[in-house]
Amino acid sequence: MLILGIETSCDETGLALYDTARGLLAHALFSQVDVHVEYGGVVPELASRDHVRKALPLLDEVLARAGCRGADIDGIAYTAGPGLVGALMVGATLARALAWGWGVPVLGVHHMEGHLLAPMLEDEHPEFPFVALLVSGGHTQLVRVDGIGRYRLLGESLDDAAGEAFDKTAKMLGLPYPGGPQIARLAQRGEPGRFHFPRPMVNRPGLDFSFSGLKTHALNTVEGCRGAGELSERDACDIACAFENAVVATLVVKCRRALRQEGLDTLIIAGGVSANTKLRAELQRALVKDRARVFYPAPQFCTDNGAMIAYAGAQRLLAGQADDGDSQVRPRWPMETLPPLPARAPRGRLPGDRRV
């Protein structure tokens, strides 16, 4: 079964072809970062305009790379939410129109379910049940995953998402959007002991997060260093280092706590922030001690992409789910409301699949 995945929930246009027997055949991505960098963040109208421009050229690209024709496609999955409504609408409308013309089923997929299942695209992938840390510019959530559609929210950010805190702190330091990679780059040259940032909510029970206080602390530190003059590069590096350490330490504490609480030994992390090398290293170090394992998506599937949507959609389409005539995009969409798949639903993946 050949599934086309379309992701347009924010500022990346991603398309992919996933074959339930052969694995991922092709994926293509257009990142709009260069468009939004001038504005210091995503401009929703510009994002929507770019999706309309880029989606079909990317479709041509994935079909050519996979050596397939459009008529070979058996089903289409698109991101139906959560995300920017205008951006979601572009992918949803294109997906429904293609499905109409090809006479195949179409299904709206939950963006975070896509992220959550992205590690399943890897040769070495986790088995259910596991704890997932979804950490991006829009989300910071810990979720217990017992199977596809069997999700229980364990904790989430009460204010800013971790990635958002990275972006905002980067902006304070005069770094371009998106901030995560920029902060990580500076942090490598920072002196760890010079500033100490609080570890929000680690001393409180529970698995919720809060990152807005950390952001305020960063602002006060930046202003303190700046005094009357400009922020020195040294100051910027040291602040980036202290900030990154605080976010990473907080995430690590909560992940270990979640695994202990649930009595599980498998963690997956997904979402843009999961590409952060410090977070990966620290989690690895901590979980070895706990005799637990951590899985990640390949770096290109940490951020938004079509492959994860094709994979998640394929699982649900295989199980017979599809949109009915009433389907609409859902800018807000709690993941726990997704219908579970039967425990023995086909996973549709064989060893030795073709890699991209």
Partner: protein
């Protein structure tokens, strides 16, 4: 005989029309913010899903704008997908021309009129274009443009115009020299997909076809009024 499917979603009205064997069929509804949903329901009522060529369709026409940004993208994305999947060309028709054509078919203007087709562009501006009819087809004289009503300029040779469309309510603010030239008005007109079809057929005959990849909204307003970093924190 040419078969055309047409989609118009640029305003609060949403419509899908089919022209086949010389007959028109249309579904039309005024349904703000529900276009993405009902456009497929309308399509379903007019045609079974699957390759449109098998149902006698040769090209897909769409109202390319100007109009609601989201509405324009719904039509463009739907036409991209339908045209791509069926291997059909597309025909981009101005929404303002379609609206002038709707006014003509509805008898609100006559075939000798010069039409000022206007749409409310929000933030106290209008989209506008001027058309006359040649052999019953709206033919562009000036525009399309987006501006505050007070800034509207008309071709000097248009002595009297009929204003049609939702932008009419803002025409009280027209410059006096322009307002006196607007003789009759029909504010209640909304563009309908079936009125894109005569214009699309003419474009088809002239070979003005688009590939699916060329299907794009014509926003007219290209300044999205979002401050770049260098402008942020400054008073506007």
């Amino acid at each position: 005989m040419t078969g055309i499917l047409a989609i118009e979603t640029a305003t609060e009205a949403c419509s899908v029309a089919l022209f086949r064997d010389g007959h028109y069929m249309q579904r039309h509804a005024v349904a703000p913010r529900r276009h993405s949903h009902i456009v497929f329901a309308m399509l379903q009522e007019l045609l079974p899903s699957g390759d449109l060529r098998r149902h006698g369709i040769n090209a897909i026409a769409y109202g390319c704008g100007p109009g609601s940004f989201t509405g324009l993208r719904i039509a463009a994305s739907a036409v991209q997908g339908l045209a791509y999947a069926s291997g059909l060309p597309a025909l981009a028709v101005s929404t303002l021309a379609g609206q002038a054509q709707t006014a003509l078919r509805s008898g609100l203007v006559d075939g000798g009129a010069t039409v000022l087709s206007v749409l409310d562009a929000r933030i106290d501006e209008i989209y506008s274009a001027v058309y006359t009819f040649e052999e019953g087809l709206a033919t562009l004289r000036s525009g399309p443009a987006v501006c505050a009503p007070g800034q509207l300029e008309l071709p000097a040779d248009c002595a009297s115009l009929c204003a049609v469309g939702s932008g009419y309510q803002l025409l009280a603010e027209l410059p006096p020299g322009v307002r006196t030239r607007v003789t009759t008005a029909a504010a209640q007109v909304l563009p309908e997909a079936r009125d894109l079809i005569p214009l699309a057929l003419a474009q088809w005959r002239r070979g003005e076809q688009q590939s699916p990849q060329q299907v794009q909204p014509v926003y007219v307003r290209n300044d999205v009024r979002w401050k770049k970093l260098a402008e942020q924190g400054k008073r506007s």
